[in-house]
Symmetry: C2
Subunit: 397 residues, 2 copies
């Protein structure tokens, strides 16, 4: 058995990013940038007014003085001439500031006057002007390769005048559930049968992590069937199996994959749930063998599959984010295995309080669905009392 940290670093070290593609910026939210995005325009493109008012020479803005209004320049319609001594041009938010002017006298600080306006308050040079390139200059790196684009990044790419962006394509993940007992949701259950929730769960999770899932028809507990299914996964960036990973005579995933030339990297991790995790490869295709119990499969997906998909999609290798929380209740000492307890999560006094479910059975989905967090317990952690600070992973997916 190896540790969780070692397992994750061995998995992530074995993966290489997928290729890149061009997508419309409008569809690039959540995608990982394949190249830097540089500004193709300055923003603002020129000195612009931040208010409705008048472009003036600040030295002319003397209370009581009248300014001659020589034109009007709404946003998108710049004034072509020059603002001279005693002159003003009517501007609006976003209007380009005409040559000669060095300040915006806001509307509220003027009174109407014949042929122009009367100044009621002075203004300092530069006031209410957004400078050309104050947000970014032509050529600036707006967004760096390897980042996952937020909506705000999309806005920044748009402001930089990019209709297309270069991103890593979505990693393609083949999902193979194994077991004689499983049927797809809605199909008739055989005697001794159980519904296969793993395939649908993992497909949704892959998609939520930014990948593209394809669900293979399930394979029974039969090495030849597993081998044939694995063969049909070729071309995937990752094959994920569930079930058949333990030590029983009917745990045939390794035997089945072996017929396709499977090279094992490691098997079994000192963790709970999820001990019988398998990792290796068939040719160039990495293979992650998850346990069959849905809770174990989910927890292993959070710890290994999510980080793996991020690396495949071009991001830097990283584990899940841990946060601090206070324990509600108490827990006995932990054993050799790193534990991930399903737990309710509450807010109290601005911090997190985490309350593990009493029943931690790895086949029980209702407590998993009701969990706000996984509570991590390192190997051999001593007993914990109510109020102790622990580490959690918040569950958003």
């Amino acid at each position: 058995m190896i540790s969780v940290a070692e397992a994750r670093s061995r998995i992530l070290a074995a993966l290489r990013p997928v290729g890149q593609e061009i997508v419309p910026l409008a569809g690039a939210y959540g995608r990982v940038l394949g190249a830097d995005i540089n500004a193709r325009v300055a923003h603002p493109p020129a000195d612009v007014s931040a208010m409705d008012g008048y472009a003036v020479r600040a030295e002319d803005a003397v209370p009581g003085l009248r300014l001659r209004v020589i034109g009007e320049a709404p946003a998108g319609h710049p004034f072509a001439g020059n603002v001279g001594r005693g002159e003003a041009v009517r501007l609006f938010t976003g209007s380009f500031v005409p040559a000669g002017a060095d300040a915006i006298l806001i509307q509220e600080n003027t009174l109407p006057a014949p042929g122009g306006v009367e100044v009621t308050e002075p203004v300092t040079a530069g006031r209410h002007i957004r400078r050309q390139g104050q947000d970014f200059a032509l050529g600036d790196v707006l967004l760096a390769a390897g980042g996952r684009m937020t909506v705000r990044d999309v806005a920044l790419g748009a402001a930089g005048n990019h209709p297309w962006v270069r991103v890593f394509r979505r990693p393609r993940v083949a999902i193979l559930a194994t077991g004689d007992e499983i049927s797809l949701p809605g199909e008739a259950l055989g005697v001794g049968g159980i519904v296969n929730s793993n395939s649908t769960m993992l497909a949704a999770l892959v998609s939520a992590y930014g990948g593209e899932a394809f669900v293979l028809p399930a394979a029974g507990d039969d090495a030849a069937a597993i081998a044939a299914a694995a063969d049909s996964a070729r071309g995937a960036d990752l094959l994920v199996t569930t079930g058949g990973a333990s030590v029983g005579a009917h745990d045939l995933v390794q035997a089945g994959l072996g017929r396709q030339g499977f090279a094992l990297d490691f098997w079994k991790i000192a963790m709970r749930p999820g001990k019988p995790l398998i990792f290796g490869r068939i040719g160039d295709m990495p293979v992650l063998g998850l346990p069959g119990n849905p809770v174990s499969a989910y927890v292993c997906a959070v710890l290994y599959l999510g980080p793996a998909l991020a690396v495949l999609a071009g991001q830097a290798a990283a584990g899940p984010v841990f946060e601090a929380a206070r324990l509600q209740g108490s827990l006995g000492p932990n054993d050799v295995r790193e534990d991930y307890l399903r737990a309710r999560l509450h807010r109290r006094d601005g911090g997190w309080v985490v309350e593990p479910f009493v029943r931690q059975d790895s086949a029980m989905l209702t407590p998993l669905a009701a969990s706000g967090a996984l509570l991590r317990r390192p190997p051999f952690q001593p007993a914990l009392a109510d109020g102790d600070v622990v580490e959690i992973i918040r569950l958003g997916l």
Copy 2:
């Protein structure tokens, strides 16, 4: 000017959920359930073994005693007979427990013996058996209407044997940017022109919030053009405009919408950025008029559009989630407007530290993209010192 809280509650009170549709469970992640999901099977469907081992009568599991193995029942292949005195049936994880047996003697607690196994450790009745319905019983409510489905909820729906689910359809949001000066990303910029980042940003945001956006061709600063565009939005669940919302002679959104029978609910909110927000309706279609500056538009989208889309999609009315953070730096007293400062967010000692950008210009996208949070300042909040506790909204999108 009305308050942020009043504006949000007036917007949310004016909205009704959209209709419902049926979607495959596999595509239901992130959707809002339109009806409860009840279990169509029990989970587990029968008493099943949680380990590899032998189904026995606990009273027979006396160390040194030999048990006759009368059959084997892998998962999916239940044993049809009865386990009698001195008998055992070989089981595996997930196997149904045969009649007569009341415990699982794990493999490690046996030794091979002629025709059977020798017991090496005793076992108590019920040990290593997952009881029928221990996760959920037939007919149990697994997921309640109005909840947004996580991946774990999808797994629970699958385990409940549902291939289809009833969800609210994605709210359809028409997006209309206005202004003579704007061009789409990648198009040639006119003299005095600027790139329209709002349409692409809002389309991505609507999609991230679970809606379906359609971007209308932009309308210039012309009431007739705005009226025609608004007309083409009919059938949308919400029309969102940007720009033209202020008081200038070229702020024509209200005039343009008015030609389509726009009924104003309110205009102007005591907030910064985002003061000139408009809300009303054209016939049955609600209309949210966002400011033209991209940062103002984004902040208003977080405060109003996100909650509005949740209500349209069938969720309960709620505002954004606030968390506590410590201020890095100091801030002067606030004025009459509720302030939402763009800010960096760091972790320190398990808590959040928030550092507002010095430049809070509402046209600047680079600080917005670099922000981890919006820092909320209530109206008339006194000056704040380094380390004071403040309220933040974390920005994930």
